[in-house]
Symmetry: C2
Subunit: 219 residues, 2 copies
């Protein structure tokens, strides 16, 4: 029986992506387990989700630290103690430093609610709507030194409708986030992601069934 | 019998987009006619396509002019003499100045082979492949003072495959260009495009059938 990939999730908010990952681990869609949930925010809904799911969780509040590096060192200590192999940022609102990057090189993922390189940063849906884009989506990527810049693992596309608000567009994209984040993690767990420079090659490639799961029909 | 919208096409290259527009005018998918084709390049395939289709054409070579403004003035003169109402840039490799913009405000369209705002400018497919994007596409937009920055009319999405080359990706995108450029022109001809700031609202909106034409199934 092969050992399941141990995931450490960092989350600052409500944790809906975390919940999707927890659920997919439980139903064995992902060959992994969430070993630890850490939030910088004591009120994060993500911590409550971990508690309900019986997953170890900690609040490590950034306000107790003088520097990003010392904060990241505390994160690394907690993650390594829990035997975490893949760090998953699920709505984590702190910038990460090289302390965390160097402890988990090529092993930190993030999800961004746009089709990178379009609309990086904050206020993503507002930017997409103001820009007048007809399509948006979400991107799971490995984290590198930049913000929203690392190698792309999976993307999903959604249409932007003329009567969309930030909320309706966010919700449409969030449904896709809940599909592709677990899938990206599963591909990592299966050892199918090969990073070459900026590109992530899937080896073996997605089967038609798997592709259908990540590339929903656009109408 | 309503008067057909008169299109002036500016093209520097082979003219496959021009051909798609010519063909859709002929089969009445677009309620318009190509009144004039202008190229800055005497060897442009686009001029031959115009000739074959019996459409008036001119080569106005930019090398005969001292400034962008004087060149644009020659373009405007030719376009206005032909009664052009909508200027369509179909692979036109010259930057346009305010002389042309001011003669046809809100009446100049361009197509770009990426999902703007991602990958503007040149060497588009190379950039998309190097970036590792999982999706790309094409964008028809109104032209404003910037490059690849004007209000977006229609976009189409294509998947990027792991074994894509610049050529295979360009070809996949080109097939979508040939669908959405005629459709954008038709919407303009029907008076259905309402520009509000950066956004282009479709009034009335695309019917499900029309939407299916622009938003192909992604698999």
């Amino acid at each position: 029986m092969s050992k399941k990939l141990r995931i450490g999730a960092l989350a600052s908010g409500g944790g809906t992506n975390l919940q999707a990952i927890i659920d997919r681990c439980l139903d064995n869609s992902i060959d992994a387990e969430v070993a630890l949930v850490i939030s910088n925010n004591p009120d994060a809904g993500a911590l409550e989700r971990a508690r309900k799911a019986g997953i170890p969780f900690q609040c490590i509040d950034h306000r107790g630290f003088d520097s990003r590096e010392s904060y990241d060192a505390a994160l690394v200590k907690a993650l390594q103690s829990a035997g975490v192999e893949l760090v998953v940022l699920a709505g984590f609102m702190r910038l990460i430093s090289s302390v965390l990057l160097d402890a988990y090189p090529g092993r930190i993922m993030n999800i961004h609610p746009a089709l990178l390189p379009a609309f990086p940063g904050l206020h993503v849906q507002r930017k997409a709507l103001e820009y007048g884009a007809r399509f948006s989506g979400c991107t799971v990527h490995f984290v590198d030194k930049g913000v929203d810049t690392g190698p792309i693992i999976i993307q999903a596309v959604v249409p932007v409708l003329d009567n969309d608000t930030e909320q309706s567009l966010s919700e449409r994209i969030l449904r896709q986030e809940h599909r592709i984040y677990p899938q990206a993690i599963h591909l990592f767990a299966q050892g199918r992601l090969r990073v070459e420079g900026r590109r992530v090659l899937l080896d073996p490639p997605l089967s038609p069934t798997e592709a259908a799961l990540t590339n929903p029909e656009i109408r």
